[in-house]
């Protein structure tokens, strides 16, 4: 059987060519039908303007801003409302102004204002979830990017460490830390952060391992760029949106994990209060006082959804290759939220 000597396609793809350039690129695609974007000199300003074009993203941003403000200033405003007990006025239903605005969301099983407790819990929740996600994100991502870029032994060892952490019972870790040390906020943050590092580590490694074989990374190597410079310039900016989207999903996970720790009695301890703890403690009262668990649960759900919407939007807005989509007229705007996540989460 005779075969043509030269393969007709203009695409060289040998077994030893490990460049792995994305096979999805057709050899001669015309430029994407990208309409010229207005001059994006001032990125911040235009980001803001782009945001305003998207109702959902704007709403999400407002919700998050509100949550942030409540976390920072709320506790000052509510004063001792969150701690003032009145056993004789326990479990008052919400949406009644009989006891003043402080009790508009009802009272809990000790007669404390639900509003006040939700506000105080906002700060605790955020100050557990944000640092936990942040620490895991920074450590896991940098480690994963580094391991994936260099491959070889560094990659193998890193992945096995990730395996170890992932198959380690996080509850044991929690009990140990809380036993040997104290169940302080800092320790809970630490546990949640450590156990979530592998998620970022694995995702960042996979992306980075793929990126380090890209041609533009090879190009950077031929200039003599150092690995750290290449990672900083070519790998991290591309991996970051995926990792950030992942982080917003993780933000939700961490809030839930913290509430599960509370459910098992080893999470945030009274008199500190978080949304998760409120849901956990309120579960007993589902049939007698539903608001004890529903209201903090709603806070978790709304915050999570807002964070996810904004993250999906941000992912597009920060990607020059996709940004034009946002400036299209409304009905054609393709991926407004919920874009591709290659990230792994649990």
């Amino acid at each position: 059987m005779a075969t043509p000597l030269l393969q007709p396609e203009g695409h060289q793809h040998s077994e030893i060519d490990r460049s792995g350039t994305a096979a999805t690129h057709t050899p001669d695609a015309r430029p994407l039908e990208a309409p010229p974007v207005q001059d994006l000199g001032d990125k911040k300003l235009s980001l803001f303007r782009l945001l305003l074009r998207d109702k959902f993203a704007t709403l999400a941003a407002l919700v998050l801003m509100f949550v942030g403000l409540v976390a920072v200033f709320g506790p000052m405003l509510v004063g001792d409302l969150a701690t003032r007990q009145d056993l004789l006025a326990a479990n008052k239903p919400p949406f009644s102004l009989d006891d003043g605005w402080g009790y508009v969301l009802g009272s809990d099983s000790l007669g404390r204002s639900m509003l006040g407790r939700l506000v105080v819990a906002t700060r605790t929740t955020i100050s557990v979830a944000l640092p936990a996600v942040g620490i895991a994100l920074v450590i896991g991502s940098l480690w994963g990017v580094w391991a994936g870029y260099h491959r070889g032994l560094r990659e193998t060892i890193s992945m096995r460490i990730a395996d170890v952490i992932m198959s380690f019972p996080s509850l044991l870790l929690a009990v140990v830390v809380l036993y040997v040390f104290n169940p302080s906020l800092g320790n809970i943050v630490l546990i949640l952060a450590i156990t979530r590092i592998p998620i970022y580590l694995r995702t960042a490694r996979a992306e980075s391992a793929e990126l380090q074989s890209r041609t533009f990374v090879d190009a950077a190597r031929t200039f003599g760029s150092k690995p750290t410079a290449i990672i900083g310039r070519h790998v991290i900016p591309i991996v970051l949106p995926t990792l950030l989207t992942l982080a917003t999903l993780e933000f939700c996970y961490v809030m839930l994990a913290e509430s599960s720790l509370s459910f098992l009695g080893i999470g945030i301890q009274s008199p500190d209060v978080s949304w998760g703890l409120m849901v956990s403690q309120g579960r007993q009262y589902l049939q007698t006082a539903w608001w004890l668990s529903i209201l903090p649960g709603l806070a978790i759900v709304v915050t999570t959804i807002a964070a996810n919407i904004l993250a999906a939007w941000l992912r597009i807005a920060t990607d020059p290759a996709q940004r034009w989509r946002l400036s299209l007229p409304r009905k054609r705007g393709g991926r407004r939220f919920g874009t591709a996540l290659k990230g792994a989460t649990k």
Binding site: L87, L88, L110, Y179, G265, Q269, P271, Q284, Y285, T288
Partner: protein
């Protein structure tokens, strides 16, 4: 008679049915009539008879699978005959028991004095490390002797007026039982024999046809376990179970909850040798500051009783005349201020240690206590720990270096005699006592040697003395347990139901 409440209906006939298939689906309507379904809060770690004083084991085993020689009537506190028909102290240290001669074990072997002697020897004198040994007997071994088939002689190292009470915790097993290792599924003389244990899922018991007493109303019993109180409650309301143990006041059991005094008392135990708790005025202030009435009425739906002492009514030594400390915040503040004026460091942080999930609403209670003590002008910090950690605070050697501690304790006197309480909680070297006084120690030791009426009044004095002169405790409440009970079952729980759930007292309601 012993089981006066026991009613034998026509269901007796059903007991002759062969062992039904054990894969009966719960909720099966047909199952309701001949199987009593109980849901516990945890799976028994073992059913070993010599561990039956553990609540989770005893609730299944005691009086159902195995029986002791004598038993304590939970209502009257009297010791009543069971496998032994009569007993007497033949000397200061020697007791003689007359045993029944019509009893057989589930394997058909007859019960006799030898089996009883073997059991006591195995539980108390062996190296098995039985829980009952540490729980009801001291360091000294017992000398047991089977005089004849139906006569048992027990000799103690020192005089022990409550030996029969102690022996009521020893569940009799046949001599074929291993004395080398513990046995997960014991053979006993009780109305039910263990049929099957599907680890992790359920235990089924079947009525023993050769039982010496009246046959139980339900030919079969099935135990399951769920750790969530709301789920146990739900199983009653949805008809999946007939009896649910350990229901909390907000678990949603509704009308089907039956409350009973469970002999548990909650109190704050104060480290009386660490400032500022070393000042009696501060300890008194804590007693005044706790608003027990409101706690009981608001948190516990008014079913608990405000406590004045560590044991409830019905336990030998309970002092009926003792009044609970009144709630008087002003007086508390005054006492703290006085102490402060005398240089007592009342601003020192006091750690209020509680154990998560120890009893219903413990989290709520601890926050209330923290708030109320703070109102009195004390600096109180809350610390919630899990069981293992809690024990480090509860038992000697205590946690040190954590400053003054107010420990929330839940004490249950299962045995029905104040001796089991005061030796532990009130002597200056008691395993669970932080301090005491020499006079008090002497008083307690004397009380332990008394009998009958003297014993009652001696312990009454001990409790009064504690409140007046020692004040190691700030009493809160005698608790009430709630059992979930399906409408189709007649059962009246009593103070020992939590430790010893007598299936033979349960009958189908008509």
């Amino acid at each position: 008679m012993i089981f006066s409440t026991l009613a034998v209906g026509g269901t007796l006939v059903l007991s002759s049915c062969s062992v039904a298939n054990s894969e009966q689906v719960e909720g099966d309507a047909g199952a309701a009539s001949d199987t009593i379904r109980v849901v516990l809060s945890q799976e028994p770690p073992t059913l070993e008879a010599c561990e039956a004083n553990l609540t989770s084991t005893g609730v299944v085993v005691r009086s159902n699978v195995t029986q002791p020689l004598v038993e304590r009537n939970p209502t009257t506190g009297d010791i009543e005959p069971l496998l032994a028909t009569e007993w007497e102290a033949t000397s200061d240290t020697e007791w003689t028991f007359k045993l029944r001669d019509d009893v057989t074990f589930h394997d058909g072997t007859p019960f006799d004095a030898e089996a009883a002697a073997f059991t006591i020897d195995r539980a108390v004198n062996s190296d098995l490390g039985c829980n009952v040994e540490g729980y009801v007997f001291g360091d000294d071994d017992l000398v047991v002797e089977a005089v004849d088939e139906t006569t048992l002689k027990v000799t103690t190292a020192s005089p022990d007026p409550i030996l029969p009470l102690r022996l009521s915790f020893v569940e009799i097993v046949p001599t074929s039982t291993s004395s080398e290792e513990k046995v997960r599924e014991p053979i006993g003389t009780g109305p039910y024999a263990i049929e099957q244990w599907d680890a992790g899922q359920r235990i089924t018991l079947a009525a023993y046809e050769g039982f010496w007493g009246d046959a139980p109303a339900y030919p079969k019993a099935e135990y399951q376990w769920r750790s969530e109180g709301t789920v146990r409650a739900a199983m009653i309301t949805s008809g999946e179970a007939d009896i649910a143990m350990g229901i909390g006041p907000d678990d949603g059991i509704g009308e089907l909850g039956v409350s009973y005094p469970n002999n548990e008392t909650i109190a704050l135990r104060l480290t009386g040798e660490i400032a500022p708790l070393d000042d009696a005025r501060v300890r008194e202030a804590i007693n005044y500051a706790v608003d027990k009435e409101t706690i009981v009425s608001s948190l516990y739906g008014g079913t608990d009783k405000v406590a004045a002492q560590l044991i409830p009514e019905g336990v030998v030594g309970h002092n009926p005349d003792l009044e609970p400390w009144p709630f008087d915040l002003d007086r508390a503040k005054e006492l703290v201020a006085e102490a402060k004026a005398d240089g007592v460091p009342v601003d020192t942080k006091i750690t209020l240690v509680t154990r998560s999930a120890q009893f219903p609403k413990v989290t709520e209670l601890s926050q209330v206590l923290q708030e109320q003590l703070s109102q009195a002008g004390l600096n109180v910090e809350l610390k919630t720990v899990e069981t293992s950690q809690h024990l480090q605070y509860q038992l000697r050697p205590f946690v040190t270096n954590e400053g003054p501690i107010a420990l929330l304790v839940q004490h249950g006197n299962q045995a029905g005699d104040a001796a089991f309480t005061v030796e532990q909680y009130m002597t200056s070297t008691g395993a669970q006592s932080t301090f005491g006084t020499p006079e008090f120690d002497a008083m307690i030791e004397e009380a332990g040697l008394t009998e009958g009426e003297d014993r009652q009044s001696a312990y009454e004095e001990v409790f009064a003395y504690q409140n007046e002169n020692v004040v190691q405790f700030a009493m809160i409440a005698h608790q009430t347990g709630i059992i979930g009970k399906a409408a189709g079952v007649d059962y009246e729980p009593n103070s020992s139901s939590g430790d010893e759930l007598r299936l033979s007292e349960m009958t189908p309601a008509n």
